[in-house]
C-alpha cells in the first residue's frame, strides 16, 4: 500500500515534527515544512529495521502510565539516595529477581525494561532468549517476590492495556 510506504510509522512521524518544532522553539511555516520533511524521510529510512507497526489501543492510558512512571522516578531518586547515604555497605542486600512476562510485543517489553530501570531500586539486566522472562537487579530488598509482584501489577498490567 502506497500510504503505508510513505508513512510506515505515523506516530513516529508526528513525534518527529513536534520534537523538531520544540528544538527550534518557534512555530513558523518554514519550520513546520522542514519538520514535516524530516518526519516523512526518517521513518521511511528506518522502516527496514522496524518492519511491524505496534498498535496502541488506549491512548489515554499512555498519559496515565507516563504520570505514574514520572512520580515513581521522583520516589526512586529519594529511595536510592537514602540507601546510598544511610545504609552501610554490609547491610545492602542486593538480589537478582526473575520476572516472568505476559507481554509479547517487543515495543511493550522495551518500555517495561526502561521503566524498571528508572523506578525504585531496580535495574533490568537481560531478557530470556525467547523473551519470556526478564532478569532484574534489586539494589536492596528483603522481599524479592513482593518486588516481582509490584512490577507485574503496577507496570505490566497497565502496559497490557496499552499494547494489545
Amino acid at each position: 500500500m502506497l500510504l503505508k510506504r510513505i508513512f510506515p510509522h505515523p506516530l513516529v512521524s508526528l513525534a518527529l515534527v513536534i520534537v523538531w518544532l520544540m528544538l527550534v522553539n518557534k512555530v513558523t511555516l518554514g519550520n513546520l515544512i522542514l519538520g514535516t520533511v524530516i518526519g516523512i524521510i526518517v521513518p521511511v529510512l528506518t522502516a527496514p529495521y522496524w518492519p511491524n507497526r505496534p498498535k496502541i489501543r488506549r491512548p489515554l492510558k499512555v498519559i496515565e502510565y507516563g504520570l505514574v512512571v514520572l512520580w515513581d522516578i521522583v520516589v526512586a531518586n529519594v529511595v536510592v539516595a537514602s540507601i546510598i547515604l544511610f545504609k552501610r555497605n554490609e547491610n545492602i542486600r542486593s538480589r537478582w529477581v526473575c520476572v516472568p512476562l505476559d507481554l509479547t510485543s517487543p515495543e511493550a517489553i522495551t518500555v517495561l525494561a526502561g521503566t524498571i530501570t528508572m523506578t525504585p531500586g531496580t535495574v533490568s539486566a537481560v531478557l530470556a532468549a525467547d523473551g519470556s522472562n526478564i532478569l532484574v537487579h534489586c539494589l536492596h530488598t528483603d522481599d524479592p517476590e513482593g518486588t516481582r509482584d509490584e512490577i507485574k501489577h503496577r507496570y505490566e498490567r497497565r502496559l497490557k492495556e496499552i499494547f494489545p
Binding site: 520544540m22 526473575c98 526502561g114 537481560v126 532468549a129
Partner: protein, 132 residues
C-alpha cells in the same frame, strides 16, 4: 523577578546539586558494578531534572517566554538512561558472571546473553543435521 520565584529557582538548583552529588558519591561508595549502576540511573535523574525545572522557571519569569528545550532534554534523558544502563549490565554479565550464578528463568531457553533465541537455535540444529 519576584522573590518567591527566586526562592523556587534556588531551591530547585540546590535539590539538583544534592542529588547529583549523592549519585556521584554512590558511584564510589557501592561495591560492585551492578550496584553502582543504580546510582547514576536514578539519583542523577532528579539532579539533571532539578536544573532543567529551575531553568524553565527562570526563563519564564525573566523574559516571559516558555522554552521547550528543557522538556526535550528530560525526554532524551529518560530514553537514553535505561538503554545505556542495560548495555552496561549486559556487557558486565557477559564478561564477569557465569550463567549458573544467575537465577534460572522459567523457560528452557536460558538468558539471552548465553543462549541463542529459539528460531536461530533451530536453524543452527537444522544446519548441523544437514552437514552430518
Amino acid at each position: 523577578m519576584h522573590i518567591a520565584l527566586e526562592i523556587a529557582v534556588s531551591a530547585f538548583l540546590v535539590i539538583a546539586g544534592v542529588f547529583g552529588l549523592v549519585g556521584s558519591f554512590g558511584l564510589i561508595k557501592l561495591r560492585d558494578t551492578m550496584q553502582r549502576l543504580h546510582a547514576p540511573t536514578k539519583a542523577t535523574t532528579l539532579g539533571v531534572g532539578g536544573v532543567l525545572i529551575a531553568s524553565m522557571v527562570y526563563h519564564w519569569a525573566d523574559g516571559g517566554q516558555i522554552t521547550f528545550h528543557e522538556l526535550l532534554i528530560t525526554l532524551f534523558l529518560f530514553l537514553t538512561a535505561p538503554v545505556s544502563a542495560n548495555f552496561i549490565a549486559k556487557a558486565y554479565l557477559a564478561q564477569n558472571v557465569a550463567e549458573k550464578d544467575l537465577p534460572e528463568p522459567l523457560t528452557e531457553h536460558g538468558w539471552a546473553i548465553y543462549n541463542d533465541p529459539p528460531l536461530i537455535e533451530e536453524a543452527k540444529e537444522a544446519l548441523d543435521e544437514g552437514r552430518a
